[in-house]
């Protein structure tokens, strides 16, 4: 006789006890179809002679014969049943309009497919004996709903039976991400940059649309990423009809009101401008997805207010940096995801517990993908004599000025001084001397000589322009806010395809999110951003799935300057993220608070606080 699988008797109140939001009346709902905790004994026994021996009172009178007789009574075995009805598979035929073919052909190599070639069917087979199963979220209370999900075929089978084709077989952790999103009304996919959040979201949407559980989806993303999403939809779900909201106000209004495609893409600015149409009570979306959802981290911002006003059934947020500065950032996102879940005064550990079932966060270290290593080099430079002198004068004068203005002092004044000093750390304004540039130039020589490509990040367009002038022999291209949106795809293509073009000069603002530049082997952070999370995003343009070589990241830092002071403050704050998301989370994502900014120059924040606010 083969052995049966064993199950443990789950401790009472294992998870319901943690929830105080379940009305006792609702508990009755839980009882539907649930199995009793007490077993039914065979025969008519109803009392216990001793442990494990159940004999009824009648048995004592009848003796052993009576016991034997009872055992042959047919027991009444209670069964619980549920009938499922098959959902309709929606027939969606891939569109083959010339535009979409062009979009597909132009699609740059993306996650996991550096060569961008080929397609794959998903076969309904387990990976290393493990299937990816849909698991009901905790807020799904009714047992029949929970069973409906648990009894669905594993994701591998669902993808295979939906006749969906993929550019390549998703990684196992990506299937986990899809299985996480699929059953959730509220979800934050917070994977580290480069793990394929875009593909996971698109595939989950695709599957839900095919299963007729979604009909209208709105995807909101930063403006520079609209074309990226179009490309990724063409690549991962070419059969899904798309509408992109763009054009003049009249056209946009027409699009908002008449778009009947399954997926509508809009950028945050458009959503802000067209709030009356987007938030119209009749404009219902089955799902609203916010990409780079740190855009709504400020719960009192207009962007947050508008996005959470969009009539919708499900709310998903995608971000690689759910916490940039403080736990408040996550609260801002949750005002959209599940308003009221996070209260203002919650401690980080409590926040971590509350959001655990809503947030899926994986880092590259946690997932077993074969990414080449990321090598960090800290290029600590000493300012040239000209820079050092200019820096000393500027700081002395600046601090004296800040102290003089006292009551008028605002955080903006401090920012201005910080930025001025950081610019001097890049180039001496009078002579153009730059210790950083000398080091960068030497490194780029080596990079170009080996036929590799490099990305240089700076926060200033002027700095990028100066670098371009000085580094012309490397045939650099620029990608920043002053490059028109329609030209940006061309810039990326030239960087990728032109073997003479070894360098792309990028601003953190325009280039740090959503781009796939895994063909670059070197990343230089010429100056440092306020927030390590933004730096991480920038680095992960190159170090992402599909990268075939190690990525060397050079972080410039001018010693004994404001850059070092900021670096030291941020270094001390790297623990916050780990407290909320667990010990293994490696991304540091805390910026500077106003107090810390004032403290950079040992200024008292007290008097300026009201003014600054």
């Amino acid at each position: 006789m083969n052995k049966l699988p064993k199950i443990e008797n789950t401790p009472m109140f294992s998870w319901i006890a943690e929830r105080d939001d379940i009305d006792p009346g609702k508990l009755r709902v839980l009882r539907a179809l649930s199995l009793p905790a007490e077993p039914v004994c065979l025969g008519s026994s109803n009392s216990s002679l001793s442990d494990g021996v159940h004999i009824g009172p009648r048995d004592f009178e009848l003796g052993l014969a009576g016991v034997a007789s009872n055992t042959f009574d047919a027991p009444t075995i209670k069964t619980y049943g549920y009938t499922f009805y098959q959902c309709n598979e929606r027939e969606l035929v891939p569109r083959s309009t010339p535009e979409r073919n062009i979009a597909r052909n132009q699609c740059p190599a993306t996650e996991g497919s550096a060569d961008g070639a080929g397609t794959a069917d998903i076969t309904p087979t387990a990976i290393e004996g493990q299937y990816t199963r849909l698991k009901p979220p905790r807020d799904l209370i009714k047992l029949e709903d929970r069973l409906r999900l648990l009894l669905q075929p594993p994701l591998e089978s669902l993808l295979a039976t939906s006749e969906l084709r993929f550019p390549f077989r998703p990684f196992h952790f990506q299937l986990d991400g899809i299985a996480f999103l699929y059953p959730r009304d509220q979800a934050v996919l917070a994977d580290e940059m480069g793990l394929g959040k875009t593909m996971q979201a698109i595939t989950a949407i695709r599957l839900l649309i095919h299963h007729d559980q979604l009909r209208r989806v709105l995807l909101v993303c930063p403006k520079p990423l609209v074309s990226n999403w179009q490309r990724e939809f063409a690549r991962w779900a070419s059969e899904l009809p798309l509408t992109t909201i763009e054009g003049n106000p009249a056209r946009r209004q027409w699009l908002w009101r008449s778009a009947s495609d399954a997926v509508t893409i809009a950028n945050y600015e458009t959503v802000m401008r067209d709030r009356d149409d987007v938030c119209h009570p009749d404009n219902y979306y089955d799902l609203v997805v916010l990409d780079e959802s740190q855009r709504i981290k400020n719960a009192s911002s207009t962007t947050n207010e508008i996005t959470r006003s969009i009539p919708r059934g499900r709310s998903w947020a995608l971000t690689g940096t759910p916490i940039e500065n403080s736990v408040e950032d996550l609260r801002g996102i949750f005002e959209f995801i599940s308003p009221g879940q996070l209260e203002a005064k919650m401690k980080p550990r409590e926040v971590g517990r509350v959001v655990a079932d809503y947030v899926l966060r994986r880092t590259k270290d946690q997932v077993s993908i074969d990414l080449p290593p990321k090598l960090f080099r800290d290029a600590d430079v000493v300012l040239s004599p000209e820079q050092a002198e200019a820096y000393r004068l500027a700081e002395d004068e600046g601090v004296v000025h800040l102290r003089e203005i006292k009551q008028q002092l605002t955080i903006q004044h401090v920012f201005e001084l910080v930025l001025r000093l950081k610019q001097i750390c890049n180039f001496d304004p009078a002579t153009g001397a730059s210790s950083k540039f000398e080091r960068l130039e030497a490194d780029l020589e080596e990079c170009a000589a080996s036929g590799r490509k490099a990305i240089v990040f700076s926060q200033w367009v002027q700095t990028l322009a100066e670098l371009r002038r000085r580094l012309e022999r490397f045939h650099p291209v620029e990608y920043h806010g002053q490059v028109p949106s329609r030209q940006r795809d061309g810039v990326i293509e030239r960087f990728r395809d032109d073997s003479n073009c070894h360098l792309i000069l990028m601003s953190y603002g325009a280039g740090s999110v959503g781009l796939n530049l895994q063909f670059a082997s070197y990343v230089f952070l010429f100056d440092r951003w306020w927030n390590p999370a933004v730096e991480d995003q920038a680095i992960n343009r190159a170090h992402r799935i599909g990268a075939k070589r190690s990525v060397t990241i050079t972080r410039f830092l001018a010693l004994n300057t404001i850059e070092q002071r900021i670096h030291d403050v941020l270094q001390r704050k790297r623990e916050l993220f780990e407290i909320v998301f667990g010990e293994n989370m490696s991304a540091a994502s805390s910026g500077l608070t106003r107090e810390e900014i004032f403290s950079l120059f040992k200024l008292d924040d007290g008097e300026a606080a009201v003014k600054a606010a």
Partner: protein, 203 residues
């Protein structure tokens, strides 16, 4: 204005798409049954019966309340207790409860194979290919990683079983649905435990 919105606005809650299918005719496609059982040290035996479409989608699910033999029964039935409990009691109760008649019923438990005597549907015991044949079976169908064992006395089932496999095997790993049954029983038992306890407290 907003005419399409009005139509969209009637879209109901997320799972309602599936539930709304209740108004539609039931699917006439071939169905396959999966009969399994799990054992709990504290509570005894649970049975589960899942009927799936040829795409592997669930059509019906039935599970039994836990059943525990008493000491006298254990002594009297001896080694045949499990087949009595699983095949004649749990298996037959679950099969009787189902509305859909599948083309084949697969089981992963020898004890449940006894249910074949109570129904007119071919049954097969699904075992890993490297597991020795059961003494309750004689013929088998070899597939890649598994073997389908046909119960003794029902060798004529081999042909209809073999001809049904084409319908399901391309889309479904034949052994996979048993895992779903075990998960569902665990969930039903888990929720049952906590809800019973919580209900008593609430009362």
């Amino acid at each position: 204005m907003f005419s399409h919105f009005a139509a969209a606005n009637v879209i109901p809650h997320r799972w309602a798409y599936w539930s709304s299918m209740s108004q539609q005719a039931r699917c006439n496609e071939p169905a396959f049954g999966y009969l399994s059982a799990v054992e709990s040290a504290d509570l005894g035996y649970f049975g589960g019966y899942l009927i799936v479409s040829q795409l592997g989608r669930p059509l019906e699910f039935h599970c039994s309340a836990p059943i525990r033999p008493n000491r006298a029964q254990q002594i009297l039935y001896g080694p045949t207790l499990e087949s009595y409990l699983l095949g004649e009691q749990i298996g037959s109760s679950l099969l009787r409860a189902a509305k859909i008649t599948p083309k084949v019923i697969f089981t992963d438990s020898e004890g449940l194979l006894h249910a074949r005597e109570l129904i007119g549907v071919p049954m097969a015991l699904v075992l890993p290919a490297d597991r020795p044949a059961s003494r309750l079976t004689r013929s088998h169908i070899s597939l890649e990683a598994i073997k389908l064992h046909i119960p003794l006395g029902y060798e004529q089932d081999e042909t209809p079983i073999a001809s049904s496999l084409d319908l399901i095997m391309r889309r479904v790993d034949l052994a996979e649905p048993f895992g779903r049954i075990h998960e569902a029983i665990r969930e039903a038992q888990r929720i049952g435990s906590v809800s019973n306890e919580a209900h008593e407290q609430a009362a």
